[in-house]
Symmetry: C2
Subunit: 194 residues, 2 copies
DNA sequence: GTCTCTAGTCAACGCCCGTAGAATGAAATA
DNA sequence: TATTTCATTCTACGGGCGTTGACTAGAGAC
């Protein structure tokens, strides 16, 4: 009644598409790529499976649209600052991880074709970290930092390891700080200083 | 001759079963639970799909047998020794792909029924590590160590991150040593000594 | 008011899957 | 040798999947 013109055609389409995308994100996250069926996504979004096909073309394309929406944090500054930024962003994601990037993660581990698509996103993240590390092996260090972050996220949110899933994020960060600092900013035994 | 009966029925069966199990392990690792088909496993083992069913009863059961065969490294001793053992076992697994344990992980994420079975295996590994760490938060520290190991393995073998996949294992271990030591054996800022 | 466009539905196709059960033929047993 | 056992194959079924294309109905344009 208060909204006499709530449903223009364009608006309706936009909403439906968003609803499908949202349902798909949740489905890919909780079931992985293979176990997610277009019918289930459609049903969760309250539409017909044919409509999903009509809007997104294929299951692959729907999946691509979902991971395309996953955000990437910004990292920079001095090595120590970068380490703290990494820890802070990890702390954030320990508390509330955006469903989209978990969908990315899970499907990546589940769907071979998805892994390569996702790794470009990860590579971009690693490049940001590497830029903040003034060492000859900055690339490798950044990759290890990224791998650690990934392992923590997978354990807590996907595997739901008892200890990590119930842990206080602050405790986890406290224990990880020496790790991240040693990787981003600490001299190694070769005597190089970073 | 020493082997006048090379193909007794029992022997033949044992061999065929082993071949199927081996093919299944590879398949579950590289494709995950859902994408692995009994037909493909059978074909890789050079037998008929019906035989796989006949020997293992169901796909679920075949999968159970595969993860049952996954080995768990032994960890113990002083904190520093434990850290070195963890690093050594990780070094091993960086060089030669631990097909079984990655199959475990990958399938765990696709197969809900398998998740609990798999996480008990991981929990056992973490418990071993925790036992070697004399700290109040040993459980959490062990979980983080395990998560880091997992992240490195996933990045190198599943995602095949450029940096990590091509890195010299010795370099990776060198960079990770301070991490593992700080988690297993180093005092934290609360002043506790481990 | 009529025509056009398009959001959304419906029924169906072809494919591949896990699985069942009968058939086969060689080894074990008597 | 005759009989039983069992490793192995073959054929088939029922089901769920991604995808298709014809269809309906209501909004927008003229």
């Amino acid at each position: 009644m208060t909204a006499p013109r709530p449903t223009s055609r364009a608006e309706q389409r936009r909403r439906t598409e968003a609803r499908i995308l949202d349902a798909a994100t949740r489905a890919f996250f909780s079931a992985g790529y293979d176990r997610t069926t277009i019918r289930a996504v459609a049903s969760a979004a309250g539409v017909d499976a044919g409509l999903v096909m009509h809007y997104f073309g294929s299951k692959q394309e729907l999946y691509r649209r979902v991971i395309e929406a996953a955000p990437a944090p910004e990292i920079g500054g001095t090595p120590t600052e970068a380490a703290e930024q990494i820890l802070a962003s990890l702390a954030d994601r320990l508390v509330s991880e955006p469903v989209a990037s978990l969908a990315l993660l899970r499907s990546m581990l589940t769907n071979p074709e998805a892994a390569s698509a996702a790794s470009t996103g990860i590579a971009r993240y690693e490049a940001q970290i590497a830029q903040a590390i003034p060492a000859a092996d900055a690339g490798l260090r950044a990759a290890i930092i990224s791998a650690i972050t990934l392992g923590i996220m997978v354990s807590r949110h996907l595997i739901k390891s008892d200890e990590l899933a119930s842990a206080d994020p602050a405790q986890v960060i406290r224990l990880l700080r020496p790790c991240m600092l040693s990787l981003a900013a600490r001299a190694d035994h070769t005597g190089r200083l970073n």
